[in-house]
Amino acid sequence: MEVGREMFIIEHLPALVIAIPLLAAFIAPLLKRFGKHAVSVWSILNLSIVECLVIVLGYRVIKDGIQSYAIGASIPSLLSPNGLPVRIILEVDAISSFMGLTSISIILLACIYSACFMKKYKSVERYYSLLLLMAAGIMGMAFTGDMFNMFVFLEVLSISSAGLIAFYAYKGEAIEAAFKYLVISSISALMVLFAIALLYGQYGLLNIAALGAAFRFTILDKIALALLVSAFVMKCGAVPLHMWVADAYGEAPAPISASLVVASQISLYALFRICFTLFGLLPAIQIIAWFIILFGLASMFVGVTMAMPQKDIKRLMAYHAISQTGYMLLGVGVGLAVINDINALNAFGIAAMEGGIFHIINHAMYKGLLFLVAGAIIYRTGTKNLNEMGGLGNRMPITAVLFLIGMLSITGLPPFNGFASKLIIYESVFLFNPILSVVAMIVSILTLASFVKVFYSAFTGQEQSKYKDVKEIPAIMLVPLLILAFLIILFGLFPGIILKLLVKPAVQALLDRAGYIGVVV
């Protein structure tokens, strides 16, 4: 019995990580009468469980290879040996568990942080349930093996995110930002839906793996590809479709901004999945790759230059998020560009992808940290305006150090994790085209300058008399920050181990088209 239950859990792992947060989200409001704390504890608990499950799942993926799961089948892990799968299928390979792990960790930490940060607001149960819903959406997107499901989870994610962005409903800007986000999301959702329709119309298939196997590369396929790429580029907030990012990140509560980072990254994942698994063999993928590289470059550059003049600390960080997304696009884009040239792929393509993928988790960590630090400053000073801060370094030294860690990491200075991934990107990308590396390096330096400015405005300079009584933030809020900082340094000091454990399998999975398809077909 004991063993059986264990087996049961393991067998149903992929479904559980989606189902638990989904269920928890619906239960959360009911707990309201046990007090605010009950809701937050409930959320933290559930997310922790999911975290553990994702780790176990990831372990299994590494050990046993791709995990698939057909919802509702008697033995869900087994698929019909022949013919087409009719059921909804979840398929977990290394890259999806990588994404799942990254996302859920950040959301969990954001949730812990929220326990204190959101205490003073009334309808926190709504907040937590939306957060859980968001987690469910992200998990779904990461683990789904089916185009239509991806659309569904994307919608779940969008709606919950919009709700969270609009959380400060008393502020007009928040509503406006949420509205903007919703419009963008709907447009991209429509595009995704249309693309799915195009594909379904031709092949009668929704399953990604099956579709990948059946491809004939028609004109319609190419249109579908274009639609999907634009939709996900928009959702991940890359230039030139980045206009929603600053508003959304800026107006959302700080832990949500941190979570939105991973929410955007999951769209990035969807983009990669589609490009590699679905369209990897398409000859025209080169063009798409170049587009991705160009979007990446533009994001890097525009993001950082837009960030420079910002006065609002969170908008500023939002622009940096755009800029950092550029690195991931650049790395993976270069990999995609040489996907059909085995020599180049081995020489630098794989390395570039490793850099890009590694950057995803690094970015999630330091951007998460930075947003949470920004939240901490806002929490204590009550303002987002950099010009109104000043001299906090004496009052909040730990926060200041944490900010410094985040800052050095995002600019890619050793020994922090940003350096590790950026280094790989520079070194590989330059073989593709040296100018790319130059741009990447310069953007890092500009990022540094911009963050130094933030540091100056917030922590040094004239101390404002109104902040004389400002204290360090409470311990509960510090815990997630310290964990992130610890991870950042850990990843920075031992990038080799992380690469081997997490990143390389993920990249291999992305490249292993046949493997992914083979599980289903």
Binding site: P414, I442, V452, Y456
Partner: protein, 331 residues
């Protein structure tokens, strides 16, 4: 095992050597500048005396300063400078640490001291220091562009010649003198890149004409305005070590030859290599720091930016272009 012990043993040796040489070259720099200005100038060991004196002076922390940051940054600046040195082939001995991508690592480590200076200046809470710090940042951004282009071009040249080499490794670069892989055209390109890098050095070191961040007559020593005593000494040491580090970096990339590869001095070769290295160091520092410093006035910050972002970048790009054409013609 023995190698690890040897390497760890090298760390303090190189650190001390770096500091001593840094101060010595600083002394030579001052002496030469003075002699060019028809003065006797301070004795060559003057920087040592200065440091000794600073170390026994009181270190004042201004009232408005963020104390921990203010005191931490000089330490950071010095340790980053020393760390940089450990990654660079130095004095005929290979780098104490080396590894994958250390060229980029070194470039980043070189960013740290100016960053420390900036943060320290911000932390001191004085107006002059703040303006100086902003200028320091702007200067850094400016020279970083041509620097990046130059370094990437070098690596590119090498990787086009032998694609299998891990070109972002300093020991690889210095073991494969890049000039060996050039065609006439790419030789010219490389030369141009070399010149661009020499122009970057005074900016990196905050020497006239790019010393906008410390401009004495404008902003009263700017970034260092509030520093005194031990903290100031640490910044001075950091700067001295950094001078050596940057010059050694240039040598490792462009002038990596050792005498022992041409002549055989048997066991004396280490000594001769070290001497030869010191001469190369002197030449690089003399051209890029001493000489430029005495023949031009300080620029405005806007002119610093345009010098680097426009002129020097253009030079570097031209070099890159020539290298590219040169390699294409060959390959």
């Amino acid at each position: 095992m023995i190698e690890i012990v040897y390497k760890i043993g090298m760390v303090p040796v190189i650190a001390v050597l770096g500091i001593v040489l840094g101060l010595l070259y600083n002394g030579i720099d001052r002496k030469l500048a003075a002699r060019m200005q028809s003065r006797v100038g301070p004795p060559i060991i003057q920087p040592f005396i200065d440091i000794k004196k600073l170390l026994m002076k009181e270190s004042i922390v201004p009232r408005h300063a963020i104390k921990w940051l203010f005191n931490l940054m000089p330490v950071l600046a010095l340790s980053a400078s020393l760390l940089t040195l450990l990654y660079i082939p130095f004095c005929g001995i290979g780098p104490a640490f080396e590894g994958y991508g250390d060229l980029v690592l070194v470039l980043y480590l070189l960013v740290l001291p100016p960053l420390a200076i900036t943060l320290g200046a911000f932390a001191s809470g004085s107006h002059y220091a703040t303006i100086g710090a902003q200028r320091e940042m702007v200067t850094m951004i400016s020279y970083e562009l041509p620097l990046a282009i130059a370094i990437v071009s070098v690596a590119w040249l090498l990787s086009m010649a032998n694609p299998s080499l891990p070109v972002f490794s300093l020991s690889v670069i210095s073991n494969n003198p890049i000039w060996n892989f050039t065609t006439p055209l790419s030789f010219l390109g490389l030369l141009i890149i070399f010149i661009a890098l020499l122009l970057v050095i005074p900016g990196e070191l905050g020497k006239t004409p790019f010393d906008v961040a410390e401009a004495e007559t404008e902003i009263a020593e700017g970034v260092f305005a509030e520093y005194s005593g031990r903290n100031l000494a640490l910044f001075y040491l950091a700067n001295a070590v950094r001078t050596i580090a940057i010059a050694s970096l240039i040598i490792a990339i462009f002038l990596p030859w050792n005498l022992s590869t041409f002549f055989n001095f048997s066991y004396l070769s280490l000594l001769f290599d070290a001497l030869f290295f010191l001469i190369k160091l002197f030449v690089i520092i003399f051209i890029s720091s001493v000489f430029i410093r005495v023949i031009v006035p300080r620029l405005r910050i806007t002119q610093v930016v345009s010098t680097y972002w426009f002129y020097t970048t253009l030079i570097a790009l031209l070099g890159m272009l020539l290298i590219w054409i040169g390699c294409c013609l060959k390959g």
